[in-house]
Subunit: 355 residues, 2 copies
């Protein structure tokens, strides 16, 4: 199982987290608390960090949020990115007050003087800037071009903004150009990766929808890009608790064989052959394994005949039959246990072998 080859870009540092170059693809999310409320926001950041979030972004929508933002930056366990729209002064202040990076969309910041002032503030603070373009705020000259697909407008906007930053001698940039549909996302990021191979890319499908649809769109859209070696850091937007974004991101990295944080569950879909109610059993095993840091694969199979063979690549597993279950490792049976005790037996076997 080979992980996809990464395209090598420049590397920038967001606090202690490297993005691009040979750094692993990092997992980001965004707080949904009010930034003015530093203690609620810090509580959410701690939860997200525990779930595997590595970089956190907070909206700074007004000057009232700046004190909270500063308090968050000074106490956060994760590097904090300031998300700024419209008001360049907020970006300058956020840089002064401890942001690990800025995210701006030059298309809604205003004149190039204002963009330059933000660039200079980031340079002074020695922090990178993510240029985050989206459909709602393209470069104005580009947006007026007719006959261009949205993906082409996104790419040209990015390229034009990136060139401006580079001409000003600022190279610590990360680019994103998010769309809410997968085909546009793919066309845009493939073109960006080809056109600007040296700039790290922040990938994600934006406004992807509620939990199920948003998970599918992001796993598919971002998964295709990562498998092609495109993308250096990701934020998977879901209209759901941001903890879910982080869990889905790790599931995706794990699925692609790129990074693994906790055990992977192999579990069969059950069928008319299955004599136990496997869904709650698999959910229980999954829950009890969440805190185990070992990157092993664990099988939960509903068929004592097929189970050990079908799951023979799993490091350890159980297959339940009529009243009993077998524990197995790499397809070889370890021992037979009572069905009522099988989850406990599996977990304690895992604790012994892998903790």
């Amino acid at each position: 199982m080979d992980a996809p080859k990464r395209s090598k870009t420049r590397q920038v540092l967001c606090g202690s987290v490297a993005i691009g170059g040979d750094a692993p693809v990092s997992v980001q999310s965004m707080t949904t608390t009010r930034t003015e409320d530093a203690s609620a926001t810090l509580a959410q950041i701690h939860e997200l960090a525990d779930a595997g979030c590595e970089i956190i972004r907070c909206a700074v929508p007004s000057a009232r949020a700046l004190d909270g933002f500063e308090a968050i930056c000074s106490a956060s366990p994760l590097p904090v990115v300031a998300d700024i729209h419209f008001d360049y002064k907020l970006a300058i202040e956020a840089a002064r007050r401890g942001a690990a990076a800025l995210r701006i969309n030059p298309g809604n910041i205003g004149s190039s003087d204002r963009v330059d002032a933000v660039i200079d503030a980031a340079k002074a603070a020695e922090i990178p800037i993510r240029i985050g373009v989206n459909a709602g705020s393209l470069d104005k000259a580009v947006d007026q071009l007719r006959d261009l697909e949205l993906s082409e407008k996104l790419v040209r906007s990015c390229a034009s903004f990136a060139a401006h930053f580079q001409e000003r001698g600022f190279h610590d940039i990360v680019l994103s150009a998010k769309a809410h549909d997968v085909p546009t996302t793919l066309a845009t990021y493939r073109a960006l990766a080809a056109l600007l191979p040296e700039i790290p890319l922040h990938v994600g499908v934006t406004e992807a929808g509620t939990l199920r649809q948003g998970t599918v769109k992001n796993a598919c859209g971002v998964g295709i890009l990562l498998e092609e070696g495109i993308g250096n850091t990701m934020r998977l937007s879901l209209t759901a608790d941001p903890i879910e974004e982080v869990k889905v991101a790790w599931d995706l990295l794990s699925a692609l064989g790129m990074r693994r944080r906790s055990p992977e569950l192999v579990s069969c879909p059950t069928c008319g052959r299955c004599h136990v109610d496997l869904i709650p059993i698999a959910e229980e095993v999954s829950r009890r394994l969440e805190s185990l840091p070992a990157p092993i694969s664990v099988a939960v199979m509903g068929c004592i005949v097929n189970g050990p063979g079908e799951a023979r690549t799993a490091d350890i597993g159980l297959a339940s039959g009529r009243g009993e279950a077998v524990l197995f490792a790499h397809g070889e049976i370890i021992r037979t246990v009572e069905e009522s005790r099988m989850v406990d037996e599996l977990i304690s076997e895992i604790e012994v072998r892998f903790r």
Copy 2:
């Protein structure tokens, strides 16, 4: 937004559903009821059909299940595939009793005489066979080869079984070779598509795990294949209610722009700028749109300033602010409504325009 190009294969018919050739990628699932219990199984099939399932598979684990299977076939609104392991006589009986297709794994059916007897029964019944290979039941000669990756063993097993069927003059075959990890799935199906371009492929990640992890693995693994034009029918295995498999499959087809069954939701992830609790609102809109057959995109945005512009590709949407919301279509504002009435207003606007 162009849908991926499909690889052209032969076409086979599973009941009234065409697989391969220029047929759209179809959605399958498997019942989890006991096949002996025809009425429970038929009830589940009706639910799955309502959710968009197009082909259903039922396990036939023993001769006791055959009467139920026959009753299911004669009353099912969907073509019914008999899933048979080990016992070739069950496959022959299932073909006689109304199966729209057989799924066997020749690796566990036994001698080639027995496989040939199944082929002859399918030929007599004029139904196709899916050759479904998996890691637990490879072709024995292939499995003994050392130094082969699992994906190579799966491909060689498929190729050897397919050649046997074709030599016997039986060409109505569909192939699957499922693994429970994405890299093996990709390597296997890419090799199968290159080696046997004329045979339709049934794709999916098997034993993919519980709802979230299984959704991620399937959306990513199957999504990558579909985007490359590989795969003619799919079953996304989840350790969850099979209704979820069908919903995820449709979300995936919709995400890739290949097929759409119901409205697509564009909804922002909310942030510190958002003044309403958008998650339940988006979930409510999603739920109320489920029965609407129009393949439109509907936006639910938490920001009255950015919302209409960011979601300008949506056919219709709402963006909520402080106490009020705007309805918009393709980025143009239709009217302002009270926040408390915004979901009702959105739905009735959709009913007027698209029902």
